[in-house]
């Protein structure tokens, strides 16, 4: 990270202790600049894994905010603490036994606490991915698995929703099950894929593959260089 002379320094408070760090760093790189070496609280560093949930408030602000340390820039006067683990319970299920046609409301069966949702929208406000969390919980309550799956698709499972929820709902586990049910039972599976698997079963491509596998480099290069590109899918 750049440490040039003219960079502007700001003060941040990590669990109350002040550190002076260059402006423009993310919370994650600022903590490292200050001397922290992560074991927990750091994962993909790119906003995909939910390892670096951070609770903070900014200067002159009374509200607590939540975001990912790797995707949030530090601000002068920021107070912060990281939340690397969420002890939320998850319901074990068997994917071949959750056909929504055979259940009244499978999500409600597995996560009955969603009935306690008071629509306070705290989960939605806590979400670093801007997901309409409360809306998908309400959809789940109505048995609308498709909508629950769609609305929750961008979930990185950081668990901030569940930490904040006054009704102790396990939003991100519920949503994971909804998406799997949609993928398995609601989306119609590909016909062309089924056809190709049939062909593979019948050994349709084996001879040609054998020919390519045993080709010398110069020969397969000739075939490659003459490839035709399909313009459209």
């Amino acid at each position: 990270m750049a440490e040039n002379k003219d960079e502007k320094m700001i003060d941040i408070y990590v669990m109350g202790r002040m550190y002076r760090v260059p402006e423009g760093l993310t919370i994650m790189t600022a903590l490292e600049y200050a001397g922290y070496k992560y074991v927990r609280g750091c994962g993909c560093r790119g906003g995909f894994c939910g390892a670096c949930s951070t609770v903070f408030r900014t200067k002159n602000e009374y509200k607590l905010r939540m975001d990912l340390a790797c995707q949030t820039a530090v601000e002068d006067g920021m107070f912060l603490v990281q939340l690397p683990f969420v002890p939320a319970v998850r319901t074990v299920f068997q994917i071949d036994k959750v056909d929504p046609e055979e259940h009244d409301n499978i999500l409600l069966e597995h996560y009955p606490e969603i009935a306690r949702c008071v629509s306070c929208n705290t989960c939605t406000k806590a979400c670093p991915q801007d997901i309409e969390v409360m809306d998908y919980v309400q959809a789940a309550l109505r048995g609308d698995i498709d909508r629950t799956a769609k609305l929750s698709f961008d979930c990185i499972q950081c668990g901030l929703c569940s930490i904040r929820c006054p009704a102790d709902i396990k939003h991100y586990h519920l949503a994971q099950e909804a998406r799997r049910i949609k993928g398995r039972y609601i989306d119609i599976h590909s016909q062309q894929l089924a056809h190709r698997i049939g062909e593979l079963h019948d050994g349709v491509y084996e001879e040609k593959m054998k020919e390519y596998v045993s080709m010398k480099k110069e020969d397969i290069k000739k075939v490659y260089d003459k490839r035709e590109f399909h313009k459209e899918g």
Binding site: M1, A34, Q71, F93, Q192, K221, G233
Partner: protein
Amino acid sequence: MTDGYPRYMRESIEKLESTREERAKTTFERMPASESDELLKKYHPDYREEGKREIRVGASKGEKAPLELLRLLEAPSLIDPADIDLGQVDYDLDLLIIGGGGAGTVAALWAIGEGISPENILIATKLRHGDSNSMMAQGGIQAADKVEDSPVQHYLDAMGGGHYTNVPELLEALTMDAPRLIRWHEELGILYDRDTDSEFIELPGGGTSRYRMHSSGDYTGMELMRVIRDEARNQDVPVLEFAPAVELLTDDHGSVTGALIMNLETNEYYVVRARSTVLATGGFGRLHVQSYPTSNHYGATGDGLIMGYRAGVPLRDMDSVQYHPTGAAYPDQVLGLLVTEKVRSIGAQPINVDGEMFVNPLEPRDVEAAAFIRECYGRDKGIETPTGMKGVWLDSPLIDVIKGEGTVARNLPAMVRQYKRFNIDMTIDPILVFPTLHYQNGGLAIDAQGATPVSGLFACGEVTGGVHGKNRLMGNSLLDFNVFGRRVGISAAKHASKAAPGKLTLNHVNSYQKALEDAGVDTKERSPLLIPEYRGKKVLERHLDIGVFL
């Protein structure tokens, strides 16, 4: 208008905007092989001889590897075997899987399918279950299932893209198994983008001659990883988190019989005996080869390469590293993060400082990356950032011009979100990109069943070499961990069902140490690295190791 760019960069953006309409109707010709060969030699980092040298010890002595890897490969172990009591076995297993990313988790599931009971399996992983490059892959997964496509065509594309250095039998496995793995995903409930007939929406990637890439928005890797992990949780696969392996264990004949793992929070070691051991530790982007930024996960420090090599597994194609053409070059906070290839697949063009096209958007990755480097440093047509980094534009708003308003927002939610956090709206403004260290093309040698030449040891995923040769095509890494995770799960389970529990020694660590001394290697390094170092210089200068927490 967004305010994420300084004024002088805006001037270049205006030039880009002035050519957009014309460019929307134009495609830049693909490069003939003669030109791309020369371009690679002159500009691709792999071809810089000063970036690598020959390995001095071990099974691949004499082959070339990057200096950053050699620093660790040619270093003594983190542990002194004399300190370790191997008499007390903490875990006695059929199957130890080292690494809880995509490859390791898929292997666990297929080993169960092969009859191994979950309680006789352990996934030991350095960070959390699922923390891996698998989680971060955005673009998609290749599988030839369309009528105009075939596994043979897929093979051809990947073989040419890999410059004919792929191991044919491994590539055959990759391409022939692909459709079956997508079918498995449908059964697990993985969501793929589908059209109104519920067929997969498939896209082209760099170097592919067919539309073959299946995706889930730009969260494809995350969708695969979270579902596969969810299934492992349903099947009660035991996972030990924050518990990396630090060395393998071997018997008197050199067969692998388990591993020594470490609790990263208490610094205590555990002795694991296993009939089969799987290395699924991923790649080495966090070694920052040739000082490149990386798109990789925090844990991608090449630990499995080190441990496997010490136990006698040869390395292959370590001299080639994949630099993804489009890493974020601006703003600084996202430097090196991946901008998925899908951005180009759906129509964005790379553009220089003067608003001109200079390369076809979908050349194979190494060629595309080399063209970007040439544009910035050979032709001086790059755009310089306020911190002195150079990059080229990726004209993302062009996508909406070609494919209709809303396409970017719909297809690239993760990318749009990432830039929005830093005041850049990529649906309105282009984004600045430069190659980033993305993938370890080479790795541990395996056969088509994922067995290494060392008995009892298997490997799958990015830690292995041979599948992709010296250059991987887009969409083949998610496929790799599925195909070879499955094959390894099955073959390691079969091996475990006939192997007797082995004797546990660290003899190979001692022999390797002796080989280092004989070769005159003198170093202060210890390996594997486990956690990369990013602490501030000032702090490290004043750092005292007084052992309060030891």
